[in-house]
């Protein structure tokens, strides 16, 4: 763990609703095997491979299938399995922790056991959940590669694996947070957690104000991927619920 305690610009935190994490909230798609709730707004899925490394994938796959090492079906099933692992899984865990203090205590004490309770086995790696509070903010990085709680959040975003994020998150976390639109008061301590091959972190973001009456499912819709990495806060609820 790198204990970086950045000092940075002071300002009002209005860190909800950034365009970049709009896509993963509010989708309820647990039973839609075909769509998996993914929108593909940035590129068509059936891009024709054109790069040499893409041809290498085809060559290796063909050889492995011909030799009987792998089957096409095995690959398709694994892709399907990963497509179903989305930040919605992590959001379910966070929403439960928000509504159930005993669950939150279990999650903080033994992350692996607590997420397994909700049907998300997290095997072979230690899962450590950390809680954001008005005094302390956590953000997660993997400076050496791209370790990420994939079982709960899916495949990591490109920026998480980028040189810029990996280098700067432990050097100037407040500046990095500001780039994500997350500006913390100066008296909030920032802790940066550096993942390892054996240990993954899950941030429990602060429960937004004004969410007292919300159901667990509605709460989960406020939990974005980035809020569980710690580069953002959880989303504010939609216009004040009446009665």
């Amino acid at each position: 763990m790198s204990g970086a305690d950045g000092r940075g610009p002071q300002g009002l935190a209005h860190s909800h609703d950034h365009g970049h994490d709009r896509r993963e909230h509010g989708h309820r798609h647990d039973h839609e095997a075909a769509a998996h709730g993914h929108s593909h707004p940035f590129q068509p899925d059936l891009q024709e491979p054109s790069q040499d490394w893409e041809f290498l994938e085809i060559a290796l796959r063909e050889l492995l299938i011909e030799k009987g090492v792998l089957s096409a079906r095995e690959i398709a099933e694994k892709i399907d399995q990963w497509d179903r692992r989305t930040p919605q899984n992590g959001a379910e865990v966070i929403a439960r922790a928000w509504v159930d203090p005993d669950y939150k205590a279990r999650l903080l004490a033994d992350g692996n056991a607590a997420v397994a309770e909700l049907g998300y086995p997290f095997e072979g790696l230690e899962l450590i959940a950390v809680e954001n509070t008005p005094q302390r903010h956590h953000m997660v990085v993997c400076t050496l590669c791209s370790c990420y709680p994939r079982q709960l959040l899916g495949i990591p975003p490109l920026w998480y694996k980028s040189r810029a994020y990996r280098s700067r998150a432990v050097r100037e976390p407040r500046a990095v947070l500001a780039e994500f639109g997350t500006v913390l008061p100066e008296d909030v301590e920032v802790r940066v957690l550096d993942s390892t091959a054996d240990c993954r972190y899950l941030v429990i973001p602060m429960r937004p104000a004004g969410t007292e009456g919300l159901s667990e499912a509605d709460l989960a819709a406020l939990v974005t991927r980035d809020s569980m990495i710690g580069t953002a806060q959880a989303r504010a609820p939609h216009p004040a619920p009446t009665a």
Binding site: W53, L56, K78, W82, V141, P157, V176
Partner: protein
């Protein structure tokens, strides 16, 4: 002080973060899937640490300049050869075929 290895970048200076989202393409998802299948039981051809060691040993221009899944597929190739599952010769031969097939399709289409 020992020189940093190329993957050890925590704390270095770097430019702004490109926060654009990218949905993994089908090729990228296949690379991801195959790496996981081959690593996990019952195949258990290698461990995560071996994949990391291989990626960290890639040529610097590929490590820094290449796409993320390019590093993975290059690592997969090296691990498959190292473990004796495939040979460089058969990979190169097949790669040439695949290239020709796709270039042909691109040129001869429409």
């Amino acid at each position: 002080m020992a020189q940093r290895r190329m993957h050890d970048m925590g704390g270095l200076e770097a430019g702004p973060i490109d926060r654009r989202e990218h949905e993994p393409t089908l090729v990228e998802r296949r690379i991801d899937a195959m790496m996981m299948i081959l690593r996990d039981k019952p195949h258990a051809l290698w461990k995560t640490d071996e994949n990391r060691r291989t990626i960290e040993g890639l040529p610097p221009e590929l490590y820094d300049g290449g796409a993320y899944y390019q590093r993975w597929v290059e690592s997969m190739r090296r691990l498959l050869v190292e473990k004796g599952v495939l040979s460089d010769a058969e990979i190169d031969a097949r790669l040439a075929e695949v290239r020709a097939r796709h270039r042909g399709a691109a040129g001869g289409g429409s």
